[in-house]
Amino acid sequence: MTGFGGFVAAAARAGELVVQPRMGFGDPARMRAGLAATRDAGVRAVGTITLDSFTRVGEHDSVRAAFADGKQLNGYPIVDHPLAVTRSVLDGVLGPDFPVQVRHGSPRPQRIVAALIAAGLDATEGGPISYCLPYSRVPVEESVRAWTESTRMLAELRSLGRRPHLETFGGCMMAQLCPPALLVAISLLEAVFFRRLGVDSVSLSYAQQTHPGQDAEALRALRALAARFLPDTDWHVVVYTFMGSFPRTPGGAMALLADAARLSVRGGAERLIVKTVAEAHRIPTVEENVDALRVAAAAAAAQRSAPAPAAVEDTGVAAQATAIVEAVLDLHADLGAGLARAVTTGLLDVPYCLHPDNAGQTRATVDGSGRLQWTRTGALPLRGLAETGGELTTAGQLLQALSYLERKFDDAALERECVLT
């Protein structure tokens, strides 16, 4: 097998976790240097081109205005840079030993997908739910249509002997305060959506949350559901290092990253997307990204040679995720139509999501043990499967919950420093 999925599968066979930055620069020379530094980091890595947020929302006038004014963009504008420029970024860097994925966040990615295909790329990520609800105000039905078209554009590459790859973003959603069962369910449903539209090499994401045991339980549930619902598919699991408020101290940031690497190995994930020491402050430099890749790879290698971890507890994540997946798949023979209906009827209802289509009847919190728990389940099909109570009501409580990991890891880092000095 070739392509992005083949590279990850080969690494998994060799017992190595693939690590990947979240890296994107507006300037082509800097983008190329970032990719080359990732390739040469001395770890099993894949490259990333993260797009800027004007491109994500389709504001191409703003991209061109930034070009004209010499203003910096927060990512690589793949649609507006001429094709020859993007090819020169990739030439001699992209290859079988170094696949590159485009990360964007668009609910209407057709132009992005066309641009990446034209540039010779075939791996990207997102999904009709996960790049719509948290990131836009585009109607879900429209996002489903756009993602259907985009997935088919990628699937057509198979007739040219290529193996396009799509990763779900459903395992992240709002990054915080979404109980793992819903993340697992959306990630799985988006992978099935991609598969049914003809892309047969997929990855299922899961973003590190607040409790390592609960996260390991979620990864187990995700793998079980993928094995059941993705026959004849090359699939792997990708963990995202925590996507919420990141520790501000370098020690805290790297300890949380190392935790994500250990979680990936324990949970059988094949790939990890890293975060850096700069995450809480600004967009990281190339050097900070390379450091993070090395820290993650080292933590993963150490975890592989560690004694087998304790058994994963079952607190109901798999049962909840399975109930949601089965209910949504039953809605409609066409999964795209089913996904749109699931959102508007509240079968998929993401806590604290402000999107106009999201039902907004669910809430969650971090409980006393550090696990994410539902406090309100709205119309989710979780009757008898989830306990609720103890809702967040004030801004201070919300901030406490959102900064739970940040404080935990910063406090520990500051304590370590005090002991050492």
Partner: protein, 153 residues
């Protein structure tokens, strides 16, 4: 908390402000907006939360339709300088919004804090105040309290 619930068209009597909270056109982040809503509601203000990725025209329309006492724009994606400068010009171009309180806050640039010159530029473009992430919530709280006192008076 009920997110996205518009207030009734008639202003209820009371001392709180009518506040419109919104993200900017290219900014997908919403936790900052959820937090701002709870923060303002706790202080007795009525909040309409437009959420993320609000196009300039929609923000102008919503402001004209709801005539808020205060417009709070939250931005954390690094394009706050560009997006903010552009949209505040569109808001201030409408005579109905010439005297409305309009503020912006968050992580406004991609390189971290940039000092006062950028904030001055945003003030010159039409914002009443610019709140940078690293200063914490206190300056915003005292601004809102002062505005509420002024509107009451």
């Amino acid at each position: 908390m009920e997110l996205m619930e518009p207030r009734s068209p008639e202003r209820p009597r009371g001392s709180g402000l009518d506040v419109l909270v919104s993200g900017l056109a290219s900014d997908a982040h919403t936790w900052n907006l959820v937090y701002l809503q709870l923060f303002l509601e706790e202080r007795g203000h009525r909040v309409r939360n437009l959420g993320a990725c609000v196009p300039d025209e929609m923000l102008v329309d919503e402001c004209l339709r709801h005539d808020p006492d205060l417009v709070v724009l939250g931005s954390v994606n690094g394009h706050g300088w560009q997006d903010g400068e552009r949209v505040v010009a569109a808001l201030r171009a409408r005579p109905e919004l010439a005297a409305t309180g309009i503020v912006i806050g968050g992580k406004l640039g991609i390189d971290g804090p940039r000092g006062d010159s950028q904030a001055d530029r945003l003030r010159a473009a039409g914002f009443d105040e610019v709140f940078e992430d690293h200063d914490g919530i206190a300056p915003f709280r005292s601004y809102v309290d002062r505005l509420a006192a002024r509107v009451r008076a």
